[in-house]
């Protein structure tokens, strides 16, 4: 240090310089010091809390007192998790997450493709903002907007009436499972809001993957005589697939854990998130709530494992 020309920065002496030299000689020490606060915060507070939650699921409610029995570790709560009513909730949630993910992928793809392949300059920025604004807008406001849209006196019913298609809408609502009294209390309503709210999470990774498809590959494909559809089917789509899978991680996971959307727009039948909320709140059954919250973790663990094998993590 002392041999360098001090024309550029003032030469400093004392504790700070000594400390700086120490970090230079022992870079691991610097890394350790840098990492200590975030590791303490995330490792101790957050992971600690997660482990505490996991532990809770191995306790059970005492049937006589109605209080949690903290003396014995048991699998009783997990047995309860698999009784028909609770299993129903889990299956319903997984089915919803699957359909939401598929629909998001289908709607997101043209947007991502357009943004990645054709949009330039001003249009590119427009596409970016059209994805980012809904992504970062308030989650509750987005749900609120859909409450306005799906309300009986709202814009969607008005549109159907203007187009003289009210009969069609009513016929649809008369269908089993997807139908209901009105759109805002049907699975279809819940589905629409889920798709809307998580859509940007599907568009962004898909677009990123599409942007990484080298143009000379598609050029080569068409030079070799492939039709645009064949090029898409055999070159572009397989290369974009990891991006779609990366997006599906978000849409699937977010749908699995959400409890507010089905509570506000949907039938009164519970989803996993609602079950967790109900059991920890009014019912006071924290062990069952904890066991319920382990379900999405396990499902997501499996999902991530499969996604990793498809190379989706490189597309994140």
């Amino acid at each position: 240090m002392s041999t360098t020309d001090d024309a550029f920065t003032e030469q400093r002496h004392g504790a700070l310089t000594a400390l700086s030299d120490l970090f230079w000689r022992r870079p691991k020490l610097l890394v350790l010091l840098l990492l200590a606060p975030p590791l303490l915060w995330l490792g101790v507070i957050y992971v600690g809390a997660l482990l505490a939650l996991l532990l809770q699921s191995f306790y059970a409610i005492d049937e006589f007192t109605g209080l949690v029995d903290y003396d014995v570790l048991t699998l009783k709560t997990y047995r309860e998790l698999f009784n028909p009513a609770n299993l129903d909730i889990i299956i319903r949630t997984v089915l919803m997450a699957t359909t939401v993910t598929l629909a998001s992928a289908i709607i997101a793809f043209p947007i991502a493709y357009m943004a990645a392949r054709y949009a330039r300059g001003k249009w590119k920025a427009m596409f970016y903002l059209a994805v980012m604004l809904p992504l970062w807008s308030s989650y509750l406001v987005k749900i609120y907007a859909w409450k306005l849209i799906l309300a009986k006196e709202g814009i969607l019913n008005w549109l159907f009436a203007q187009l003289h298609l009210t009969g069609l809408l009513e016929a649809y609502l008369g269908l089993p499972v997807v139908g209901g009294g009105s759109l805002s209390i049907s699975y279809t309503g819940t589905f629409l809001v889920f798709v809307y709210v998580w859509m940007p999470f599907m568009i962004l990774p898909t677009q990123a993957a599409l942007e990484r498809v080298p143009v000379n590959l598609t050029d080569a494909s068409s030079d070799l005589g492939a039709t645009p559809w064949q090029t898409f089917r055999h070159v572009t789509f397989p290369l974009a697939l990891p991006g779609i899978i990366a997006g599906s991680i978000f849409t699937f996971s977010l749908t699995l854990g959400d409890y507010i959307i089905p509570q506000i727009i949907g039938s009164s039948r519970l989803f996993i998130g609602q079950a967790v909320y109900a059991h920890q709140g009014t019912a006071g059954n924290i062990p069952l709530a904890a066991a319920f919250s382990v379900v999405p973790i396990v499902i997501m663990g499996l999902y991530l494992w499969m996604a990793q094998r498809k190379g989706a993590f490189d597309a994140l």
């Binding site: 240090m1 809390a49 505490a52 308030s138 509750l140 907007a145 006196e153």
Partner: protein, 270 residues
């Protein structure tokens, strides 16, 4: 438009256009409803337009209290996230060590796991350790999942900040602190600002974790949630929704322009 860009097929244009309308139209609807004269229902089209509800909302003490709490929580959480996220990013990009992947996973975990799990985990941890609900219990939850936005932005910028710049600074006699102050910080500054603003927006909007860590306190999203579950003052809710859209939109536009300029300064392009 560049001439070398091929023209998009009509079907694709149509599908992408319909998709964009699907994305943006619901947000625009919020703007219209804030001015409706209808009080009791969500009637469309609005029977009349008025500015009256803005005045009514302005005079509402509960809205102001919720807003103040939300801003305070978001500010403190953002500061904590900025510190922790920058430290993490600096450590991860400054060196290669075996735990890098674990650190990344640890930072992403709070946002990757469903909010209800983070919320329930924190609540049961507070319960087990007899910590009463307070301002700080909300902040702990928010800061935890805000770290990732700062971290992601900072890591991306660190990656683009050329190592030779730092080496040049050291060769010219700057110590590590001077290098940080005069070379690294100006380079990552806009990325931190962008990450910080996204963290603020994330915290300002958060509701799921907050329902578990707030106790009886009302942040603005919790106020909103109550209105969604049991609508009582629809016109006030319409106005609050509009304000929330504006408050979250502005930082996003700013963050967009800041990071875009940063890309150009770094000269790496795309």
């Amino acid at each position: 438009m560049h001439s070398d860009t091929p023209r998009a097929p009509w079907g694709l244009k149509l599908a992408a256009g319909a998709g964009l309308v699907f994305m943006i139209a619901p947000l625009l609807l919020i703007f219209v409803y804030a001015f409706t004269t209808e009080e009791r229902t969500y009637q469309w089209p609005p029977p009349g337009l008025t500015l009256n509800w803005f005045a009514v909302t302005w005079g509402r003490a509960d809205v102001w209290e919720a807003l103040t709490l939300s801003v305070q929580v978001a500010t403190v959480s953002t500061i904590i996230a900025l510190i922790l996220g920058t430290l993490c990013a600096a450590a991860v990009s400054g060196s290669r060590f075996f735990g890098r992947e674990v650190i990344s996973l640890l930072v992403i975990l709070p946002i990757a796991l469903p909010g209800i799990i983070t919320g329930l985990a924190l609540r049961s941890a507070f319960g087990m350790t007899d910590i009463p609900f307070s301002f700080w219990t909300i902040v702990v939850g928010h800061a935890t999942f805000c770290v990732v936005t700062v971290y992601n932005n900072a890591v991306a910028r660190f990656r683009r900040t050329s190592g030779s710049l730092i080496e040049a600074s050291m060769d010219l006699g700057a110590d590590q602190f001077q290098t940080f102050r005069h070379v690294i910080l100006p380079n990552i500054g806009t990325a931190l600002l962008a990450g910080g603003m996204l963290a603020f927006a994330l915290s300002f909007d958060e509701v799921i974790v907050t329902t578990f860590t707030a106790g009886q306190q009302q942040t603005l999203p919790i106020w909103m949630l109550e209105e969604l579950v049991r609508p009582r003052q629809r016109p006030v809710t319409n106005v609050v929704a509009l304000i929330v859209v504006l408050v979250t939109t502005i930082p996003i536009l700013l963050a967009f322009y800041l990071t875009r300029d940063g890309d150009q300064i770094a000269g790496s392009g795309k």
